[in-house]
Symmetry: C2
């Protein structure tokens, strides 16, 4: 489970930056080019799901999308506001 190490890198250990963050990565390895790429649609659905759990607005979400021949990667980064309710 080597990918976990990525998230466990020292950057997240700074106690003074106690922001709540949510990062979602979807990687779609298509077996061939003719497979449909549904990640742009999937993005909307995932954002809707997240909104069920956290109070998040569009401008708190940064989206990166990369699509090559047989690999599409969608990355969503959400920085949640401080708990000042």
């Amino acid at each position: 489970m080597s990918l976990l190490d990525y998230f466990r890198s020292p950057k997240s250990n700074t106690a003074s930056l106690a922001k709540e963050r949510l990062q979602i990565i979807v990687a779609h390895e298509r077996g061939n080019r003719s497979s449909p790429d549904y990640l742009p649609q999937l993005k909307q659905d995932i954002l809707a799901v997240i909104a069920k759990y956290v109070n998040v607005s569009e401008d708190q979400v940064s989206v990166e999308y990369d699509n090559s021949d047989d690999l599409a990667v969608l990355e969503l980064n959400v920085t949640l506001p401080d708990h000042k309710k």
Copy 2:
């Protein structure tokens, strides 16, 4: 966007293994321990969303979940069947 490199590692370049795969990673960096951990619930929602786009059954999905003090990581791996419809 260094995480992209992870998915671009040589393992995915084997043309003979032209399986369609979908990998979803959700990392929740909680600012403090008292924040709720909603990833187990989120998992069900994400699976439901994926099922809208691909024909997938529970046994094609492998799930890893790791929860430490201030970081929860959910990893879903879906290997889709060959297109023999």
